[in-house]
Symmetry: D2
Amino acid sequence: MSKGLTEDTANEIVRFRDERNWKQFHTPKDLALSLCLEAAELLEVFQWSGTDLRCEEKKDRIKEELADVVHYCVLIADVCDIDLDSASREKLQRNREKYPVDKAYGVSKKYSEL
Amino acid sequence: MSKGLTEDTANEIVRFRDERNWKQFHTPKDLALSLCLEAAELLEVFQWSGTDLRCEEKKDRIKEELADVVHYCVLIADVCDIDLDSASREKLQRNREKYPVDKAYGVSKKYSEL
Amino acid sequence: MSKGLTEDTANEIVRFRDERNWKQFHTPKDLALSLCLEAAELLEVFQWSGTDLRCEEKKDRIKEELADVVHYCVLIADVCDIDLDSASREKLQRNREKYPVDKAYGVSKKYSEL
Amino acid sequence: MSKGLTEDTANEIVRFRDERNWKQFHTPKDLALSLCLEAAELLEVFQWSGTDLRCEEKKDRIKEELADVVHYCVLIADVCDIDLDSASREKLQRNREKYPVDKAYGVSKKYSEL
């Protein structure tokens, strides 16, 4: 199973936008707003559900909403000239410093409370 | 510039979680909630800014917050056994049907209003 | 205990804005965006907590974040000339029709699935 | 025009819940999550719109979504035993300290940057 996102798929997402001449609407602000709306739609899947809800019951919806979130991540990265992979690696590095294994092991606190 | 997310980086994200023994906290509901919070932090970059804000002015913050969103996308995909790349391609296909080029070209309406 | 919001307090919220000459920034879009950010801050209180978290443990933060949400509700109502009380009563009426007691009693489904 | 929310209306909102026996679902966490979803629905009204969108064009939708947000504010205040009016007044007081008129006049910065 692939965990990442291939260059091919990312390029398809950008092409989908360009074939429709939509870049003109894609201010970073509206893309960030749209990403937030899609994240809320994903969250809606879990409204009134116990925390023990397993993914299986709602897998199709989760998959679709998650794809919408990824879609906007790629579009934001594109208009802002951000390399998604490097950005992720850099942030991971910062997170490793904020959450050192010996302090964060098995603890769900924010770094500021560790 | 890479637009996608390599398998390597996605695997690093999962390993970051496992080294800290955090999977126990990662119910799909709480991951979706966390994704929503990170999307809001990205949106905050644009609070009170004109729509004409260009990315350059805030690129470091955008990069960091976007990476946080991607981070949770990978974690949700992992706990829900979702193949992020296939999910994205399937959704693109559905979007192509909802937004046919001839109807959607240069129009920023929802498919239900096209 | 007061459940509502007095005219006096609502007027104070508007005055707070006017004393700082902030109305110029308050486009409906940015106010809605800000409301969303405040709602996310309230939600953050519950990140990684069980659904059984009682309010007592986090009451001060909940109180403060909830007040921020109410603050923006009043400001949006003000710039959009919306009577918050009438709007609420009208929506309640619509909700009574969408969720008739006999169908909705003890059921946490969306009206579209009742 | 009323800017506040009467006790009567707030009580109606609570009664709407009780007539449907819904309090059993209303954990603070799920209410906060629901508030966030409603705030996102309000924000959706402004997706792809210029910042210069005036309320008139979308007033009915804004009114309805805003009422949904207020609805959940009242329900959270109820289950958490929060006096919405006092909470708002206390937060205003804190905001007056964080944003003194002489520093904040005509400036849209966060207090931490003033």
